[in-house]
């Protein structure tokens, strides 16, 4: 696929996901709404990263940076929430 086509497809997909996320917020899915919205956001982020930022073509180092950031955010959230909600203090 030529570069322009890739960008166009990415753009269309992003707008579609936007419609999806706004639309689904009008349907009451209980707690699942938040999860769905975050999943859609993650999908959008992935499209931007891979197709606009060329993450796949950039070699191992940028992917390592992304993985490290993801892991460290998990540590930040995980252990803080264990401290906040982990039971009796």
């Amino acid at each position: 696929m030529s570069e322009i086509r890739k960008l166009a497809v990415a753009y269309a997909a992003l707008l579609l996901l936007l419609v999806l996320t706004v639309g689904s917020s009008f349907i009451d899915l209980g707690g699942f709404n938040s999860g769905l919205n975050l999943a859609i956001a993650a999908a959008k982020a992935a499209i931007i990263a891979v197709l606009f930022m060329h993450l796949a073509a950039a070699g191992t180092l940028p992917r390592l940076a992304v993985a490290a950031a993801g892991l460290w955010l998990a540590i930040l959230f995980g252990l803080t929430l264990a401290g906040q909600w982990g039971g009796a203090s």
């Binding site: 540590i75 252990l79 264990a82 401290g83 982990g86």
Partner: protein
């Protein structure tokens, strides 16, 4: 050969005057810019410490009022942590040596490097302003809700100063990470790198991943104070404890930012002055990375009594014990490096050996603190103060001195007075122990930290500590004199006065502007001591000097 050294243009001679220094992109000159700023802050923070120790020599609050004392210890902490310790070895020795050690002409982003210094200066001026205007009294830890709702010092200014300096950290970290990945000389695989490079790399990782979280916590404090946004205010639904999580998520890894480069220095100095290869090189390299990673998992040990869940307390306690393991591995490896070595006691080696002793001692004290039940009793006492000063001063500052002396001939092309250096080193060791060992006793006996009045039965230990501080201060002031003097009158150094391995020693002292006349390639493991053909030769900078004058 040594007479040629003085003839070639080196980085110090190329371009004189303020513009050539203030607009430089040469990593070696940027290192000097940092060195000057950091030295100034070290002595400023030290001055506050001296005032505190003078006050603490007597039980009553006679020298300063409560409020002034609060500001003294807060400023001592803020300045020492953020304007000296965090940048110290990375921004001075790291900046100078990293490209040299990997065989590169400069860092990956030289202008970013210079910019990081300007950001540092700008941020530290903010903080200086808050010092001159009256200071802050929240402690360097800025705990909410004191800092956001009740403190009436210049919290926002100080916090903004630290925030800005944090960006300097991040910029340096990015530069170092990219440099190590992309600019190593041909043949210089990861497991041929000097340990100093490994530790600087690990430090850079921590800087990049931890500092932003500090930035977030400081932004939120400033937003609360200045714009009235109530993030940590319990009345508005906020949780003050959340601040502590964000703050310590950075500040615990920050102590590894401070100590890892020191460990790197020691890993270079010990092999050189015992003429032995570093024992267990791979273990030391991987342990450095392990410290950087595990260091992110233990921050809750600062919060055992804060109200976090007991479950989390147990996890953090266990993980804190685990994080001691890679440090212990390194201590064992350093010790074994000395075995059957031909040990000489030049100043860098003295400092490195002191590091080994004091870091071990302080680290063991850390294990006491990691034990939940013990920490409940000694939290917020002088036991904690003693522990972190053993690591930060006994460890980190000692290692900085070791590195400064070890690479001084390389950086300046001059030799310092070995006699004075040894006297200063001895003074710091004696002064340090006299200052901080009594503080372990004080903490155990129940003396709280951040108090300047205390029951008379504690005075004996406080007087010992204050006396030690005088000796320690002398030990730190001496290098200003003899190192400064050596810049003008010191004997000229050869390329490799210590007979050390490492690419930085294969080029002139001081190096040419682009580091190497011919870019090196590497085909050997590091620490190839003792060097071929020179097994029994005792290298001494002064012996070279004698040879030079005789020639």
């Amino acid at each position: 050969m040594s007479s040629d050294v003085a003839m070639r243009a080196n980085y110090l001679e190329e371009g004189a005057g303020p513009r050539a220094w203030l607009l430089t992109t040469d990593h070696k000159r940027v290192a000097w810019l940092y060195l000057v700023s950091l030295t100034a802050f070290f002595f400023l923070g030290g001055a506050f410490a001296v005032l505190m120790r003078v006050e603490l020599a007597t039980p009553g609050g006679d020298l300063v009022s409560d409020d002034v004392y609060n500001r003294l210890f807060s400023l001592h902490g803020i300045i020492m942590v953020w304007f000296y310790l965090v940048p110290s070895i990375p921004a001075t020795l790291g900046n100078f040596l990293l490209p040299l050690m990997i065989g590169a002409r400069d860092l990956a982003f030289p202008r970013l490097n210079l910019a990081s210094w300007y950001v540092f200066v700008f941020g530290s001026l903010f903080a200086l302003f808050s010092v001159l205007a009256g200071g802050v009294d929240t402690g360097w830890t800025f705990y909410t809700p004191l800092s956001t709702l009740y403190a009436n010092g210049f919290v926002s200014t100080a916090a903004m100063g630290v925030f800005i300096v944090g960006f300097s950290s991040i910029m340096t970290g990015i530069n170092f990470i990219v440099t190590v990945h992309t600019l190593r000389a041909p043949g210089l695989t990861w497991f041929r790198l000097p340990i100093f490079v490994w530790t600087i790399y690990a430090t850079a990782l921590v800087m990049v991943l931890a500092t932003p979280v500090l930035a977030a916590s400081l932004i939120l404090i400033v937003l609360e104070r200045v714009f009235g946004i109530g993030i940590f205010n319990p009345d508005l639904g906020g949780d003050p404890l959340l601040f502590q999580h964000l703050f310590w998520f950075y500040s615990h890894p920050a102590v590894y930012i401070m100590i890892l480069p020191g460990m790197g220095v020691v890993s270079e100095v010990l092999p050189c002055f015992s003429k032995r290869p570093l024992f267990g090189y791979k273990a030391v390299a991987l342990s450095s990375m392990a410290i950087a990673v595990f260091g992110f998992l233990v921050w809750g040990h600062h919060m055992f009594v804060s109200g976090q869940s007991a479950y989390a307390g147990v996890i953090f306690s266990f993980l804190s014990f685990c994080v001691a393991i890679p440090s212990a591995i390194k201590v064992f490896n350093w010790s074994l490096t000395l075995r059957k070595g031909e040990i000489t006691f030049e100043a860098p080696m003295l400092y490195a050996l002191f590091f080994l002793a004091l870091f071990t001692f302080g680290g063991l004290a850390g294990l006491f603190l990691a034990a939940l039940a013990v920490d409940v009793h000694v939290h917020d006492t002088y036991f904690v103060v003693a522990h972190f000063h053993y690591i930060m001063v006994g460890g980190m500052v000692t290692a900085y001195m070791a590195g400064l002396h070890f690479w001084w001939p390389k950086m300046t092309g001059r030799l310092y007075s070995e006699t004075w250096a040894r006297v200063a080193a001895a003074a710091t060791f004696i002064g340090f122990n006299l200052t901080f060992f009594p503080q372990f006793v004080l903490g155990f006996l129940g003396m709280p930290r951040r108090y300047h009045t205390y029951p008379p039965e504690f005075q004996f230990w406080h007087v010992l500590s204050s006396a030690g501080a005088v000796v320690l201060a002398a030990g730190y002031l001496m290098p200003l004199c003899y190192l400064g003097w050596s810049l003008f009158r010191g004997a000229r150094a050869t390329d490799n006065p210590w007979g050390a391995t490492g690419l930085e020693w294969q080029t002139a002292s001081p190096p040419p502007p682009h580091n190497f006349d011919r870019m090196p390639t590497v085909s050997q493991p590091p620490y190839a001591y003792p060097m071929k053909g020179l097994e029994h030769e005792r290298f001494s900078p002064h012996k070279d000097k004698v040879r030079e004058t005789a020639a």
